[in-house]
Amino acid sequence: MSSEPRQSGVSYEETPRIIVLDDEESIRLGCEKVLSREGFEVDVAADGSSGWEMLKEGDYDLALIDLKMPGIDGMNILKLLNENLPDVVAIVITGYASYETAVETVKLGAYDYIPKPFTPDELRNVVRRGLERRFLRLSNRRLREERERFLLDLTEERSRLLTILRAMSDGVIVANRRGELVLSNPAGRGWLRGDPQEGEVPPVIADVVKYEEISQMVERIEEDPDLASCDAELDAEDDRYFHAAATAVRDEGGAYMGVVIVIRDITERREIEKMKSAFVRMVSHELRSPLAAVQGYLDLLVDGDVTEEDSHRMLERCRARVEALQQMINDLLDISRIESGVMHREMRVQDLGEVLEEVVELQRGAATGRDIDVLLETAGCLELTADRRELEEIFTNLVSNAIKYNRDGGRVTVTAARSEDRLRVDVADTGIGMKPEVLDSVFDEFFRVRSSETASVTGTGLGLAIVKRLVDAYGGDIDIRSEYGEGSTFSVELPVQPK
């Protein structure tokens, strides 16, 4: 005899484990001997109680159970198995084989029975059949579990899609080919009257949408088989704008299946468009005004009929306006360059003290003409990594403004110092100052303080807009303290190492 399991049609993935519960020692030994030779793992128990303990722990495939045992008897073991370990195949060993016993044990979940006395062959056969049964049961269960898992996956897939749909900020509304509402997400339901989820009969979409534009899109899609999609804009309350797109859904044959409507909040986009439009309007105004003045003067000059003195003054004005126009165009190009991020920066370690000295020196001419003192106070190491030209642009604008908007005989104080990993520069003037309500607009394009005092001040209104953008680009900060009639202080903080 070989110790290899003889495989009669069944191949076991693992060595089958069998337990024999019998109070007769000869039966226990006989069974153990016969079945071990078959290659099975065999344990034995002499009474029901210890047998049941072993069954609970042992992960057995099959149990041979004597009906009459001390402790828990065979019938009760069958009951326990049926309730707790239904996959263990139970085979009853009985000394009084009768039809009644057989029926009763099968009722209790036994798979088969074998009457005493039995031959080794009878034992082998009944055990093999039992094991076949056991493994069939297991593989059936595995298949069932796989199928259940597959179904679970499907539900998960569906719930995942629903979760995504629910979380979308865009409204989604779906109608079938009869124009009935079949699906909508919470954002989409905001565009529908009532709660269509509640109704049993799906409502016709045209009856429940709040905006005619939506039902009109559905109608157009339904009526025109060539129309793949169409869109519309919805003006909702609270000054918000929405864009609705309807897309036809067709099957492979091109038959109309329904329509998907997606509604998106485009208020932000609209706001940007408005800002752009306002900017273009201001630019066009700022460019046309000097042109109109120049053209007017030139017309007067060409027509003659102006005094020598007037004509000289008019030519001077023309030149000033053309120069301002030139400056304006340069500034606009600067702004657009900074905004688009296309800048040719040369980042090097710069001595800010040196930059400020140069800036102040170049502006001093304009200051002395009006008897304005310009002071520069620097302290400590003022090195930072930056583009030299941009530093010059920032501080030239600030110092030049401090002089322009100063009173004659006033003072401009520029102080620079390092605090931790930032450099701070204050540009303080003793000028006309600003009212609190205009402080928010100071960095807007084309903003200029207008009053009788500033009537003679020229400028594009873009200088501070450029300064602000440059400081932002370095990850720095700029703020203003101003007292109307007393003066203003612009404070710039730049990181020593820009991000």
Binding site: H285, G296, D305
Partner: protein
Amino acid sequence: MARILMVDDDADFLEVQERVLARGGHEVATAHNGTEALEALNDDANYDLVILDLMMDQSDEGFTLAHRVRSLIGGDASIMILTGVRRAHDLGFDLDSPSGRKWIDADDFVEKPVSAEDLLERVRRLVE
């Protein structure tokens, strides 16, 4: 010959047009902004024509100014908008479309820059 009040925040432009209109035989008063204009009209509203810039001091005060000017000068006098702004979508204004011009109570719209002959001709048509 007409009495004209011209409102514009550009002093050079104002000087030029004042000369042009004076040369055309008109009597011209000027104002540099809306406040000055309303002050002038409160003193004396007896003008045949008010010429208004739309954007003054970078604000859109010219847009609202037209209505207040109209209430002061009455329906017989004329308002001319003389502006560098062709379109202001953000304000619903469009010089090129009748509906975009309609909500400003003006009798004529003229775009800057404008030649002397052109301005005088447009004024003549309004005050005749």
